[in-house]
């Protein structure tokens, strides 16, 4: 599943609702920030400026640049500059081993994307913009010019950085100022390094009564929007009409399951929130019931050439299952499955997928042969699948298809890319093309689809 592989990185937090203390004074959460530590202090950046959380490895060093420029980094094909805020602000940089990736953010500026290295990414915090106070010079080792405000949340003081001012197209004068700030703070930083270890992760503080809360017990759509914004920044999961219903229902469920402590503060919480999203039999073979339900969805009168498109095939379980299923449904047809994934490691191992007999339900039996290293799929099945290393949003040469299995892929694309891929799906449609999205992805709001769901298999016919 493409999006899932892009994955969640960093120490992350999702702020949901607290819900309970109804009598207490409430604040409207209208500002969210991604928080991180630099030299042991807490900082925040407006979530709207953050494209994603990243782990940086293997910078390409660029000679003759400012010392705070760590180098350039290849972000899935886009080359971006990466700067180290600790060096920029002359804060202590902790020792690290070579193969340890660095925590960081990809920040969206008016002038483009830029990577920022920090000590550790902490969490996403929702606050009321009214509670942001103007900066006071005492708060930071950072020139006051680059601070857009200070806010207290959960007993911690966050300094909100104005990334546009720090990293945007600055004049030479500004650059000089950065350097002089750095110089004057050098002494402080040194002292600071003795006092604290910046890598130490703090204990999660108890939620205080004064913290901002969601206005409603039930998941109102604005709460869903807030959660969605956090999900998107941290995992790439984008709430649109295809999964909005799921997000809202899940949020209600989450709030009743976690009564009194619905705040999502750890990586585990984010994963737990999305854990019920994924389709069944993800990364493993399908049991007979599921296969039969998908079989019922397929049109009865297909023959000749049957083409299947399977983006997000992962290690290949899905593609092999589809090939076996289509073969059993149409024994005479010529089958071609175009299976693709953007995870090079996973998809490279797919053509020679290794498994044991115990992993494979009985209905696959006619399509298995005994190889020297355990069971494998027959050459007829293997030859019908074409595994490709491919990004689903890139142009590709997949011909018109009879079946498109795209489970849990769309939700992890940006809204624009979702639209693009849906257009591609339409372009590749034949007369009665069946589209199988994820179990919690609904194509009806998109328009142009008729639902033909069977049991656990959510499916749509184009037209």
């Amino acid at each position: 599943m493409i999006g899932a592989q892009n994955g969640v990185t960093g120490q992350t937090t999702l702020f949901a609702s607290q819900g309970e203390e109804g009598e207490q004074q409430r604040e409207d959460i209208d500002f969210k920030m991604v928080t991180f530590s630099l030299g042991g202090k807490d900082y925040g950046v407006d979530i709207m400026k953050v494209k994603e959380i990243a782990k940086f490895e293997d910078f390409t060093y660029v000679p003759n640049t400012q010392p705070f420029v760590s180098g350039v980094y290849n972000l899935r094909g886009d080359i971006i500059s990466v700067i180290d805020l600790r060096v920029m602000f002359n804060l202590p940089v902790p020792q690290r081993t070579d193969d340890d990736p660095e925590d960081g953010l990809i920040v969206r500026l008016d002038t483009g994307l830029i990577g920022v290295v920090v000590d550790t990414i902490d969490r996403v915090v929702g606050i009321s913009s009214e509670s942001i106070q103007p900066p006071h010079p005492i708060f930071a080792d950072v020139n006051i010019k680059y601070i857009s405000g200070v806010v207290e949340h959960d007993g911690r003081l966050y300094i909100i950085l104005d990334v546009e001012r720090i990293l945007g197209d600055g004049s030479e004068e500004e650059q000089a100022q950065i350097e002089s700030t750095a110089a004057t703070n050098a002494g402080d930083a040194l002292k600071f390094a003795e006092e604290t270890s910046p890598r130490t992760r703090r204990e999660e503080p108890e939620p205080g009564p004064a913290e901002a809360e969601e206005p409603l017990r039930g998941a109102s759509s604005s709460v869903a929007e807030m959660v969605a914004q956090t999900l998107q920044t941290l995992t790439g999961f984008t709430m649109t009409s295809i999964n909005r219903t799921w997000v809202e229902e899940r949020l209600n469920q989450w709030q009743s399951e976690h009564a009194g402590d619905a705040e999502i503060t750890t990586q585990e919480h984010v994963e737990e929130f999305l854990s019920t999203f994924y389709s069944p039999y993800r990364g493993r073979f399908w049991d007979e019931d599921y296969a039969n339900q998908l079989k019922k969805v397929l049109p009865a009168d297909l023959k000749g050439n049957i083409t299947v498109w399977n983006p997000g095939c992962g290690r290949g379980h899905e593609a092999y299952s589809i090939a076996c299923l289509v073969r059993s449904a149409y024994p005479e047809a010529r089958i071609k499955v175009w299976a693709e994934d953007n995870d090079l490691l996973n998809v490279s191992s797919a053509p020679s997928l290794a498994f044991t007999r115990e992993e494979v339900p009985g209905w696959y039996e006619p399509y298995l042969v005994e190889g020297s290293n355990g069971p494998r799929f027959s050459s007829e099945i293997r030859d019908s699948i074409l595994f490709e290393y491919s990004e689903v949003t890139n142009a590709s040469s997949v011909p018109p298809c009879d079946l498109i299995v795209i489970r849990d892929v769309l939700s992890f694309l940006s809204e624009r890319d979702q639209r693009r891929v849906l257009e591609m799906i339409e372009d590749r449609a034949k007369d009665k093309t069946i589209v199988v999205p994820g179990a919690n992805e609904d194509l009806l709001p998109v328009g142009g689809f008729t639902e033909v769901t069977q049991g656990a298999v959510r499916a749509f016919r184009i037209g």
Binding site: D58, G77, L386, Y389, S390, S397
Partner: protein, 158 residues
């Protein structure tokens, strides 16, 4: 791009560069680019046909091209070059031929049959290459002379 094609290109690029330059060659992370991509300055193009259609592009800056051509010429006891002259162009073209040739040989052993077109060398600033409906696999290779990007776009005949 079909996963079976990836390794032959990566391996042959690594082998050939190591062999002709006698230097430490480091392979960068592979990634995908959508159709239109800028070209660094010197590009050797070889077309592929047969079961598939596509092309291989060896892309590098002019300085890198001169340094690499010089290193190759010196290893054959010939004079190095200081500008991209006829000898330089011929040398880079030959490099592209060697890498693609070895990759195609490896693919042939795996049962995929490709034909090659003679290489063409294109030089200039601010160039862009675009193919319709093929995404390109980029294999970056780093060496003391600079960076070469091997840009492979192959699609199956549908």
């Amino acid at each position: 791009m079909r996963v079976e094609y990836i390794n032959p290109f990566v391996e042959s690029a690594y082998n050939i560069l190591n062999e002709v330059l006698h230097v430490e060659v480091a392979r960068g992370d592979l990634y995908l680019k959508s159709t239109a991509a800028p070209v660094l300055g010197v590009a050797a193009i070889i077309g592929l046909a047969g079961d598939v259609e596509g092309r291989v592009l060896l892309d590098m800056s002019r300085e890198t091209a001169i340094d690499i051509a010089s290193a190759m010429l010196k290893s054959m006891d010939m004079d190095p070059i200081t500008e991209m002259n006829e000898m330089g162009r011929a040398t880079i073209t030959e490099l592209a031929n060697m890498i693609t040739g070895q990759a195609v040989t490896k693919l042939h052993d795996l049962g995929f049959k490709f034909d090659l077109t003679p290489p063409a060398l294109v030089t200039g600033d601010n160039m862009e290459i675009s193919n319709t409906n093929v995404e390109a696999l980029i294999v970056p290779m780093e060496m003391p002379q600079g960076k070469i990007e091997i840009n492979v776009a192959i699609r199956e005949r549908g």
